[in-house]
Symmetry: C2
Amino acid sequence: MAATPSSPGRPDDLTLEVVGLIGSVVARYHEEYEEAAAGHDLTGAQARLLSLLCLEPLPMRKLAHRLKCEPSNVTGIVDRLESRGLAERRPDPADRRVKVAAATREGRRVARGLRESLRFAREPLAALTDEERRSLRDILRTMLDTEGTAAEGRE
Amino acid sequence: MAATPSSPGRPDDLTLEVVGLIGSVVARYHEEYEEAAAGHDLTGAQARLLSLLCLEPLPMRKLAHRLKCEPSNVTGIVDRLESRGLAERRPDPADRRVKVAAATREGRRVARGLRESLRFAREPLAALTDEERRSLRDILRTMLDTEGTAAEGRE
DNA sequence: TATTGTTATACTCTATAACTATA
DNA sequence: TATAGTTATAGAGTATAACAATA
């Protein structure tokens, strides 16, 4: 535990500075992600969905849950990816109500290109020593260990 | 300098893990920001713009530059804030073409509430020791010191 | 009846291009 | 003529509600 850490009410200067820095990192990360997506003629939402499908095919419903949006939105995003031949809908033999979205070969190719053009969050790490990277890893793990993870339980 | 750090081509496992953790932090940060904004009946864009205005009044043009979007978009966002009495447009005595957007008293009140409800990026830091926070600060500074900052020069 | 995916609708954000009023 | 802000337009993401097919 910290000596005199940021109490919930009145964060100290160091904490405030770190909060600001995290905000900057988040902003940079997002800019670069959108930029990389645009470089492959994808919107951010399309890029995120396609990246998910490259890990595993998913029913529309689960896709919505993963993207934390309404199922009705997924219809349009998959439509646009499908019209470009990057994704496809497959029937689920077990339940004929379900449609499973999957990345096509071309979709996986585009997603790979996208992944490789995401240099931020990786390139700046090259400026760190191995020890710093390990330190950062441990700190980030601690940060992410705060509540909030509970909601992720249901899948 | 690192001993055998992530070369541009083939990042090591540690780097990949840290990249993933950063992605998670970014996702959490964004979710909580949007959620906090929605809690005050603001969209993310409105919340970001209003927060900027609370630091200082800004001409529409500069606002667009800060938000990294086209000036035509700012018109609508400020319109919506203005219709709720959270922001206002003031003439610039020096240049009658310019309209300076500013937060109203109510706007600053809402922004303060928003800021205080943004517990993430601050609350998880409470789990860190002072030394860890200093360490994190230095690492984040190093990360943000990577190129890319050049584009920020023009203001 | 409940669930899956879709459609219809409405709002916001986004970029582009054309317009206006200044400079 | 160049610039600041706006309008008009179109595409995309988002949530809500209603719907068809299936369970």
